[in-house]
């Protein structure tokens, strides 16, 4: 940065200038993207900021950016006066249930597709792959009819089973298992291990990165899910958090502060997971783009 008197000729001045310009450019770049990022985060701030106001203050004109009076008790009140506890529990049960089934079923089928030889394997794999194209709303009507015929409306299995068979997991894990050396299977087979034992003791531990990614994405997809819980339930008893948020808009009038408190609670797991697992998500998405499917 310091200018050397001996180098005070035009060339060096322009070099200095270039360096300064580059620094200014870098600063502007960071300032710009920070501003965009702040705008992006603003709805989160607005949500929390309105969750800790009285409902009267939420609706007050003119709008205040920060609450005049912080009412942290809203979070407790929302749980006491509205069945947010039930919604939270339902969300956890459904998301965990679907994730457990998807992981177990995908491990089995991915192993079969990656390691076992049987007639019609490629054809079946292609059929599975093609199901990724089916829009969810197309299945929703017949699935509703099926589930109501079975008497599964307002049951956990009715909410879990119809959405627990996605071929995405089969592909993700199959691709990963293909990368695991076959020698390991064969060594275990020499020791007399069954295929199931090989899957559980050899493949699953090695495929943990892919299984973790599948669990993460399945859990979040179910945590976010709205259409199927909306159709597979009626009333508040088995409603999940997203469903609960829309129920309050209509049934209780609109207690905006409670809804914002509920929205905050429903966003927390995703926000925490996104921050904690950011490295895995980054890697997973870059791998995922290679073979098609979210």
């Amino acid at each position: 940065m310091t200018t050397n008197p001996t180098s005070r000729h035009p060339h060096s001045v322009s070099a200095d200038r270039k360096r300064i310009l580059r620094r200014v450019g870098t600063f502007m770049s960071y300032a710009g993207i920070s501003l965009v990022a702040l705008l992006f985060l603003f709805p989160f701030f607005w949500m929390v900021s309105n969750a800790v106001r009285s409902n009267a203050e939420v609706m007050a004109v003119p709008v205040h950016i920060l609450p005049e009076e912080y009412q942290w008790g809203t979070f407790v009140d929302a749980f006491v006066s509205l069945p947010f506890g039930t919604f939270l529990l339902n969300s956890i049960i459904v998301a965990c249930g679907v994730t457990a089934i998807v992981v177990a079923v995908s491990c089995l089928s991915a192993y079969a597709f990656a390691r076992l030889r049987f007639p019609g394997r490629e054809g079946l794999l292609l059929t599975y792959l093609s199901t990724l194209m089916i829009p969810q709303v197309m299945l929703v009507i017949p699935l509703f009819l099926l589930v109501s015929k079975l008497g599964w409306i307002n049951t956990y299995h009715g909410m879990i089973l119809p959405v627990a068979f996605s071929s995405f997991g089969t592909f993700l894990l199959r691709q990963f298992i293909l990368g695991i050396p076959k020698d390991l299977d064969e060594a275990a087979m020499m020791d007399g291990a069954s295929r199931l034992r090989i899957l559980v003791t050899v493949i699953v531990p090695l495929a943990m990165p892919a299984i973790g990614l599948l669990s993460l994405f399945t859990f979040i997809a179910q945590w976010k899910s709205f259409l199927w819980p909306l159709i597979a339930t009626s009333g508040v008893e088995k409603a999940t958090l997203p469903l609960g948020l829309t129920l309050f808009q209509t049934q209780q009038g609109t207690s905006w502060n409670y809804i914002m408190a509920g929205a905050t609670i429903s966003m927390l797991p995703g926000v925490i997971l996104a921050i904690v697992m950011q490295r895995i998500i980054y890697k997973g998405i870059s791998v995922g783009s290679g073979f098609g499917g979210r």
Binding site: S29, M47, A112, G120, L139, S167, W223, F226, I259, S266
Partner: protein, 308 residues
């Protein structure tokens, strides 16, 4: 590969020819759960949906076969259908263009930074991990009459109406919210692809005097074009199905300004209980998704470069 794979295992002479090899039996056992789930919750519903679309079923009556009547009614009688179709296409086209433009810009921007890439990636990704309904409810509060959006519009002197109460602007609000909620996925994906572009390509271009703009269009974009293609196809498929934001924020309104196919299928099926008619709508959506995907695969030859 699989056809020959079975024949590879030599049969012992004199051993009876068994139809199912032990390995095949194991495979069937391993595939049974996913296959059953696939048949019951995927294949059967698809067939049922197709069959339903040819019936007139209002849930209380017994279904009666009506041939193509639902489809004919859609395209000739139903006055709402073309509105729904236009809304869906309008949403999909504008949303897709904005999503790719914004996510590419942000991804290039982030990849140009020396420090803090992970922080910005997480920030833009956060909304994709939050329930769309929760996000929509927050934006609903922002857009509420005399709420924050109106205050900002007034402060800036823009003279715009309340977005959700205005037929022209309501769809723009839905697009904005959907963009905010989903753009992060493509940002992270493009950012990952850009970080994989070999540094020496860009260094060579710099020596040749290419500026940043030329480097982007001539080197980086062609190199990440397979990723951009994949993202475009996936984003288009999901955008044709938009539902959550519309349900939470406008319920298709004002009037039918934001009624899209996804919302119409829900409304016809679960509010009016016209299961046959709703199924026909669902098949229209499916055909649109297939057509768009085929079109995109057809067009990829023009702009997607694969490294061979």
């Amino acid at each position: 590969m699989s056809q020959s794979a079975v024949a590879e295992i030599p049969l012992q002479p004199g051993q009876p020819r068994r139809f199912l090899m032990p390995e095949t039996q194991t495979a069937m056992l391993f595939l049974l759960p996913s296959f059953l789930g696939f048949m019951i919750f995927m294949a059967l519903p698809i067939l049922a949906s197709l069959a339903l679309s040819f019936t007139n079923w209002q849930l209380i009556s017994t279904p009666s076969f009506v041939g193509f009547q639902n489809y004919i009614k859609l395209f000739t009688v139903d006055p709402a259908f073309y509105t729904i179709l236009r809304n869906t296409l309008f949403f999909a086209v504008e949303y897709l263009a904005l999503n790719i433009a914004v996510s590419l810009t942000l991804a290039v921007w982030i990849s140009s930074l020396k420090r803090g890439k992970a922080i910005f990636r997480v920030i833009f990704f956060l909304p994709t991990f939050t329930p769309t309904i929760a996000a929509s409810v927050v934006w609903l509060l922002i857009f509420t009459p005399d709420g924050l959006a109106d205050a900002v519009i007034r402060a800036l002197g823009l003279g715009l109406p309340n977005f959700l109460l205005n037929p022209t602007w309501a769809m723009q609000a839905i697009i904005l919210v959907t963009l905010w909620a989903n753009v992060g996925y493509n940002v992270v994906m493009f950012n990952a692809a850009l970080d994989l572009v070999p540094k020496h390509y860009l260094e060579a271009a710099t020596i040749d005097g290419a500026n940043a703009w030329q480097q982007f269009w001539r080197i980086r974009l062609p190199l990440i074009s397979p990723t951009v293609f994949f993202a475009t196809v996936m984003t288009a498929i999901t955008s044709l199905q938009v539902f959550d934001e519309i349900f939470a924020m406008t319920r298709g309104g004002p009037g039918s300004a934001t009624a899209t196919l996804g919302f119409a299928i829900y409304q016809k099926g679960f509010t009016n209980f016209q299961m046959g008619y709703a199924s026909a709508l669902a098949w229209v959506m499916f055909v649109m998704i297939m057509a768009l995907t085929i079109l995109q695969f057809h067009m990829q030859r023009k702009w997607v470069h694969y490294d061979d």
